[in-house]
């Protein structure tokens, strides 16, 4: 047992820290603001800059533009960036697609996509959910029909993050409507500029435009863009989701560290009803609990990262990571507003205006954390079935 990072990992961390000090991440323009997942906002410019540093593909093979280093090194870099609230949103999700291409892609696909992704030249969205296929992905209705050297896609996808900003999208579609539901699905790599692709951003209840819906109307996709084998799309997608659950949530402790620090600063300097907030024993207890939960989250994240680093499956561990991180994120938003009090609603120009704005936003946005990427209930099913071996209903 050893909870230290290796010398190589610490060296990379120091490089990342140094980079963040020299090129402060907040100076890069963001297309989507930080939504409190822990991985910051969506910034094409920042992603591109990380690509120049080689940090988008730390663990990919060198021949495809990666650095050929370990997953743990990749994790350490992402964690350090998260401490600086750097915008990693734009590429972190594409990474699940990248992992899918590394594992299932043809040589041609690897050569075509991975080096571009490693440079940050192309950003990805993932189109899985549909209006009639949320938690029940088997119900996917989008059709892909073979026609000569192409597949022709028709259907609708909803909730892909950043699809309106992305260049490419992984799409799950039904290739065999007569096969059992689980055995007729395939995955395609779709150029978002293809004729017949229409994307509309969705304005969510926090006022953000991070999700989108995609309409596919007679979209022609050349056969070479089928990822993996035809009708074998489901295991591929589950594999991608396992990583997606982890990478999308594994930075909670790092991303929220500053939230906690800022709330502590606010408490130490503020009064309400003629009493100093720092003398409020309930608030002290609550903040301590959040600090402890962030530490618990950190350890759960490290455990999963350690497993991934050995090439082990994190089929249920990634669900533990996600449920804990999401529900903790919601508690942090709730506690933040408790601390800030009724004045948190006011958009004023005081020195605390930014803090108020952030927590009001998080309060609204964080409702989506336990829904996106698989609801907390679905994650709990996974933990029960895969982690504990309970029987299927």
């Amino acid at each position: 047992m050893d909870f230290r990072f290796s010398d190589e990992e610490e060296k990379l961390r120091a490089e990342v820290r140094d980079f963040c000090e020299k090129e402060p991440p907040e100076t890069f323009p963001c297309e989507i603001e930080d939504e409190g997942y822990g991985f910051g906002g969506w910034s094409r410019a920042f992603t591109k800059r990380l690509g120049e540093k080689g940090w988008l593909a730390i663990a990919w093979p060198k021949e495809y533009g990666g650095l050929g280093r370990t997953i743990m090194e990749r994790y350490v870099a992402a964690e350090e960036l998260a401490y600086h609230r750097a915008p990693q949103y734009g590429h972190l999700f594409g990474d699940a697609v990248g992992a899918g291409i590394v594992t299932y892609g043809t040589e041609e696909q690897k050569k075509e996509f991975l080096p571009q992704m490693a440079r940050g030249d192309i950003l990805w969205a993932t189109g899985l959910s549909e209006p009639g296929a949320g938690s029940d992905m088997l119900n996917t209705a989008t059709r892909a029909v073979k026609d000569g050297d192409d597949y022709v896609l028709n259907g609708q996808k909803i909730w892909p993050t950043g699809a309106h900003l992305a260049d490419w999208c992984l799409i799950l579609a039904r290739t065999d409507p007569d096969a059992p539901k689980a055995r007729g699905l395939s995955t395609f790599l779709i150029d978002m500029r293809s004729p017949g692709v229409v994307v509309n951003p969705i304005i969510d209840m926090a006022g953000a435009e991070s999700f989108a819906e995609i309409f596919l109307e007679d979209v022609r996709v050349p056969k070479r863009l089928l990822l993996g084998q035809e009708n074998r799309g489901l295991p591929l997608v589950f594999g991608c989701l396992e990583g997606d659950r982890f990478w999308g949530r594994c930075l909670r402790h790092a991303g929220s560290k500053k939230d906690l620090e800022e709330l502590v600063e606010y408490i130490n300097q503020s009064s309400y009803d003629g009493r100093r907030l720092k003398d409020d024993q309930v608030l002290r207890d609550t903040l301590a609990e959040i600090a402890i939960e962030l530490e618990v989250s950190r350890m759960l994240n490290y455990k999963a990262a350690w497993l991934l680093n050995q090439g082990a499956s994190i089929s249920w561990e990634s669900s533990v990571v996600k449920v804990f991180a999401d529900e903790l994120g919601q508690r942090i938003a709730h506690v933040g507003l408790q601390v800030l009090g009724p004045e948190a609603q006011i958009r004023d120009n005081s020195r605390w205006a930014r803090l108020r704005k952030r927590f009001t936003f998080l309060y609204n946005f964080n409702r989506g954390l336990s829904l996106a990427g698989g609801t907390s209930e679905i994650q709990r099913n996974t933990i029960a079935l895969r982690g504990l071996g309970l029987p299927r209903s």
Binding site: S6, L287, A291, I292, W306
Partner: protein, 375 residues
């Protein structure tokens, strides 16, 4: 980064698990909860043969010289097996001697401890005082070459079988110096009176009166009046050790529950196939994973000699609450059968309460964490 235990530690775990399954069946555990002494010499002696009392003791004193993490592995299994008896309380006394004792004290005590011939306990809490060590009232006043101890200690574990009591006292010297000190007191001293307490878990805790007990100055552990620091460290070690035991207990409650819900059939299906039950179990698993790794973090830091008080407080705060949540859900999933006195589950849910308070409950530790994060 390495979340795994060493081969030796895994072997220790296996030996402990097998041993406790054979030598410490749950009927014995229940019997011991009703028994006045609370353990059998037979079980104690067999544990001594395995060298467990000497696990943290250096080889030169006849011990195995294991690390604190090794001890944590063993405690986890003892929590899992719901081991009754004074192993834990004696271990705390042993750690006090190991960490703060003089060479002479170590030479005197450790070999006997390692053989299992000497049982220790620690006496800290008092009526109305938990682990806020600055509030302790029990007093030891210098008188010639002795200290004279007067006061009351509460919730002292296994005082009835303790040969040596590590007692936290406020010391006053003839020269006017004062502070907190740890004294090694003869547990059989006639000026000590014991009253057994009836407790939730049927563990053996005592109300202990020190009525002018005389202890020579050589019985001071470490330096006199420096006990506050020692006590903080000892309490942190105790908290982490208790967390390890709780991880084992929570794992046992989890295992009992998953086994039961796979077997128990209602509505023609095992109840474990129902999502309401599955989500209870998933919540138990999430809490268990959380308490396991926050405990290992604190234990690893303590084992490596790194500062670990903050991690210890975090672990104890989290584990205290999580273990209660886990056993609560275990009961809900078991339904009425788990409500029976002769079922194994109450062994764990009752102990969860005792463990929650031992070495400070969740709120106590969160007060410390609040300071640590700058409040």
């Amino acid at each position: 980064m390495d979340f795994s235990f060493s081969e030796e530690q895994e072997m220790l775990r296996k030996i402990a698990r097998d041993f406790l399954a054979t030598e410490c069946p749950k009927d014995l555990v229940r019997q011991m909860a009703r028994d006045e002494k609370g353990f059998t010499d037979d079980l104690w002696n067999k544990m001594a043969e395995l060298g467990w009392m000497g696990l943290p003791v250096p080889e030169k004193y006849g011990g195995i010289e294991g690390s604190f993490l090794d001890v944590v592995v063993l405690l986890e299994e003892m929590g899992r097996g719901a081991l009754p008896g004074p192993f834990f309380s004696s271990l705390l006394g042993t750690l006090a001697v190991l960490h703060f004792g003089s060479d002479r004290q170590k030479e005197d005590l450790l070999p006997k401890i390692a053989r299992g011939d000497l049982v220790l306990t620690v006496a800290i809490s008092e009526p109305g005082v938990g682990y806020q060590t600055s509030a302790l009232q029990c007093e030891a006043v210098a008188d010639g070459s002795d200290y004279v101890i007067n006061g009351t200690k509460l919730l002292v574990e296994n005082a009835h079988v303790a040969d040596v009591v590590v007692c936290a006292v406020r010391t006053r010297d003839a020269s006017g110096g004062q502070g907190t000190s740890l004294l090694l007191v003869d547990g059989k001293d006639p000026s000590i009176s014991l009253t057994p307490l009836e407790t939730i878990a049927g563990d053996k805790q005592f109300h202990v009166n020190f009525n002018g007990v005389r202890a020579p100055q050589s019985s001071v552990l470490g330096e006199v009046n420096k006990g506050h620091e020692y006590l903080e460290e000892l309490l942190a070690l105790g908290a982490v050790a208790k967390c390890a035991e709780m991880v084992g207990a929570a794992q046992a409650a989890m295992d009992l529950t998953t086994d039961y819900v796979k077997e128990r059939v209602q509505f023609d299906h095992p109840i474990g196939s129902l999502q309401s039950i599955q989500h209870h179990c998933a919540n138990m698993k999430i809490d268990l994973e959380g308490m396991r790794y926050i405990t290992y973090l604190a234990a690893w830091k303590a084992s490596e000699g790194l500062p670990f008080r903050k991690e210890a407080a975090m672990a104890k705060a989290w584990a205290s609450d999580a273990c209660i949540r886990i056993t609560n859900l275990a009961h809900q999933c078991h339904g009425a059968i788990g409500f029976c006195e002769d079922h194994d589950l109450p062994l764990y849910s009752k102990r969860a309460k005792a463990s929650e308070w031992a070495f400070g409950g969740a709120r106590f530790h969160r007060q410390f964490v609040a300071q640590e994060i700058g409040l």
